[in-house]
């Protein structure tokens, strides 16, 4: 007896009679006998619901990171999620539905994703967006491939200040014989070396990929990069942090051709790295070159408004080896989470989140930079929510000592120096947590309270 399998042995006997076989083994006739398993697999279980809960509680107890204030960012952020978001995600109508291929019975999913596309397009300042990608990193990789298709060129210039894990994903996705990826170096203040980039760009350049703000949290003007890309008839691909966008000039306004990003900050739990949702937006004229599902508005036979998956001839199930991507399943439910999140936050709420991230991270940065021996890595360049500092103790040692104070301090960045940390503060880090961080850090750095 299994609670997920309704048919009893007696039912199955009856069904086997209808099928016209003597027993189940007859159905395995096409499977060569030498490949049929003789004994059961070696697996634990079966466990009851109650045992399973205990098992998971025990595992969760061994994840103490969960109860410590988190100052780690680097591509995933501890933001507040209103309760209503999860109430929608727990609707069977959404989470147990299939991909909306039968549009007439999937209008809920389709319209919600259409609204998602609208919000992403507005936030990024672009004309359209797709229905989601796996995550920000794979969206960036797919954007590079898309730029190569559009321009029929093979070289991508990537900002050296991009998230290194994203760069790994881009390299993995475009590991093609004829492909070339060059890194644009950054200057002492963390901004990109535009003149070096100018030297690197040419008539073989498909795209310039830049993160906005950069991996180090730094904000720089996109316009020179847009001019550089467009001057060489290449595309500017911007990997944008959506939480920064209510404050920052939109990538679309600055001349971006494709905007991608990680949507986790918009209503999706940290969940140890996934599932998240990547977004991708572009000008309408690039829609036909885009990877992934796209929802469009249309009418039914009676002229009522409705929604369908559109431009499907780009996709693998129709175009096969000539498709714009191999992506099939996307992150529909996570995109729904972001849609509900942005609906609840609204214009004012999302601006407030953005603004609090800005001010809280600046308060923390200022407090820490005041500790003797602590110095800024990139002085004077504006930053958003995330910043780098160099501590007078090794970053690994700093991290473990901060853990003793019950604080997840940030991410060591050995590539920038032994004591360098990447630190973030979202709207969830209140004054007392920020002050505790500063006090603990100053103790570790050998000073008392500053």
């Amino acid at each position: 007896m299994n609670r997920f399998i309704p048919d009893s042995r007696a039912n199955r006997e009856e069904m086997l009679r209808t099928i016209g076989v003597d027993g189940f083994e007859d159905l395995l006739e096409p499977v060569p006998e030498k490949f049929r398993l003789e004994g059961p697999l070696e697996l634990p279980g079966p466990v009851s619901e109650l045992e399973l809960v205990r098992n998971f509680e025990e595992l969760a107890c061994r994840n103490p990171a969960s109860s410590k204030p988190c100052f780690i960012g680097a591509g995933a952020y501890d933001h507040f999620i209103p309760a209503a978001v999860d109430h929608i995600l727990l609707r069977s109508e959404f989470y147990t539905a299939y991909t909306p291929y039968q549009a007439e019975v999937s209008q809920g999913t389709l319209q919600a994703i259409f609204e998602y596309q609208t919000m992403i397009a507005r936030l990024t300042g672009m004309e359209m967006a797709n229905a989601s990608m796996y995550d920000g990193a794979s969206a960036a990789a797919e954007a590079c491939l898309m730029a190569m298709r559009v321009t029929r060129r093979q070289k991508v210039l990537v900002a050296g200040s991009i998230n290194p894990r994203w760069l790994d994903v881009v390299r993995t996705y475009v590991r093609r014989k004829d492909f070339q990826l060059n890194e644009i170096p950054f200057l002492e203040d963390g901004t990109l070396d535009i003149s070096a980039a100018r030297e690197m760009a040419g008539d073989d350049t498909a795209a310039v990929l830049v993160q906005y703000p950069s991996y180090f949290g730094l904000i720089e003007d996109l316009e020179p990069l847009a001019e550089l890309a467009h001057g060489n008839k290449a595309l500017l691909v911007v990997a944008a942090d959506p939480v920064a966008l209510p404050l920052l000039r939109s990538p679309g306004d600055a001349g971006a051709d494709i905007v991608v990003g990680e949507g986790q900050s918009m209503g999706i739990p940290l969940s140890f790295g996934g599932p998240y949702a990547g977004f991708m937006a572009a000008g309408k004229k690039l829609a036909r070159k885009m990877p992934g599902r796209i929802i469009g508005r249309t009418e039914d036979r009676a002229g009522q408004t409705g929604y369908v998956m559109t431009l499907q001839t780009r996709e693998q199930h129709i175009r096969r080896e000539k498709a714009t991507s191999n992506i099939c399943s996307n992150q529909a439910l996570m995109a729904l989470a972001s849609t509900v999140y942005l609906s609840l936050m609204g214009e004012e709420g999302f601006r407030e989140v953005s603004s609090q991230c800005y001010h809280r991270s600046h308060y923390l940065e200022k407090g820490l930079a005041g500790i003797p021996g602590v110095s800024r890595v990139f002085d004077k360049t504006p930053f958003f929510r995330e910043f780098t500092l160099s501590f007078p103790v090794g970053a690994t040692e700093f991290t473990s000592k901060m853990l003793e104070h019950g604080i997840l301090a940030g991410l060591p960045l050995p590539e920038l120096g032994e004591g360098v940390m990447l630190i973030t503060a979202t709207e969830k880090r209140d004054r007392s947590q920020l002050d505790s961080y500063i006090t603990a850090a100053s103790e570790i750095c050998g000073g008392g309270a500053s």
């Binding site: 988190c70 739990p269 191999n326 439910l333």
Partner: protein, 487 residues
Amino acid sequence: MRTIFDICSPGRIGVSLPESDVPEQQGLPEDLRREDRGGIGLPRASEGQVMRHFINLSSMNYHVDKGMYPLGSCTMKYNPKLHENLARMKGLSDLHPLAPEKEVQGTLELMHHLGELLCEITGFSGVSLQPAAGAQGEFCGIMLIKSYHDSRGESHRNEVLMPDSAHGTNPATSSLADCVVIGVESNEQGLVDPEDLRKKVGPNTAAFMLTNPNTLGLFESHIEELTSIVHEAGGLNYMDGANMNALLGIARPGDMGFDVCHLNLHKTFSTPHGGGGPGSGPVACNDKLAPFLPDPVVRDDDDGVFHLGRSRESFGRLLAFHGHAGVLYRAYAYILTMGAEGLREASEAALINANYLKARLSPYFDNPFDHGPCMHEFVLSGDRQAKEGVKTLDIAKRLLDYGIHAPTVYFPLIVHEALMIEPTETEGLEELDRFVDAMISIAEEVDEKPHLVTDAPVNTPVLRLDEVKAVKDLCLVEPREEGGDEE
């Protein structure tokens, strides 16, 4: 229905955020600030209005908690409710992926153990839990194979062979991996023709991609011959695990000559499909390919401590982080709940259900590859009905009127007017009979009142939608209102 943007009004908000308790810091330089012509254009609605909007949307969806989804190759089985709670538990849902390893030992242990269980189920020794979905798992598998050939100085191997019945992701994945697709013909039984495979392999063969059971729901019974042909030519065998629900505890890809396979946790292992995702597509492989697995792999050391490590010759990275942990939690819960016997029982019941539907529907529809039992799915053809002027698409839409989701249609491409049917083990005899009754009734309508079928659907929230118009008058976002920010 109205969009969320239609119910907006200035002054409305759906959250209450804490007041800022830090002093205002110096703001951004003017030239970096967002242009503010009429705002971003996000909604302005109360919490109740937002809830009502999305609940009203939800009521227009069909879903597996409402009824059966006989979608072939999609394995739309029941999604256990407890697993939703577990994935949301404090201590699991709130972990930062870059937290120090000693702070997340519980989750790392779960991932490590899940990897071992998936190896046992598939007969392999190495695993990556990172791929986000089946298609990314395929990409991972082909990259493993390419890395293997590279390591042996055989980088020229760039041909991926696959039958004409392959899922669209297989050829698309091969192109993404910079390989050339070579089609292999199916024989009259609907199985890969070994003679054609023998002709197509050669010194450039990188891989043979095969779904087994194949997309006709048939087990490739000469599998040993097929995988040997490829191995003898120096290629490797990839199994698309989309149809693994037929084989749990019955047979294992690793025993049949496959070198690597992916699994769809959102199919075989009961994690919800979410209206199109998220999925999860772990890849399991043998010792030949394990050294190339992407970053990170979960390992344990001699002290029983778990680490996120790198493979010796990792081919790279597929996602920013470690995979869809939230989906992995649910799949792990499923395997523990089922145990070895439960998983075997699931596959047995899936096979019986599919064969039962095939037996009952075959008198009413063409069944071009009916040469014996099917596995967990089968493919009918609507050819007979098409001759009466009713297309398979019409039959699919008419089923919606009966309150049942349509099967997969027009796939695989080698069957005309294909209807690909997979009931899964979680449907009971009553639901199966209800589906059969609806299909028979539609077959009768085709003969007697075909307009009922060609006009369908009529009992759905909207009537048949105009897909041509959607492409012609491309509308992909809600236009901004007058006075809004036209960016």
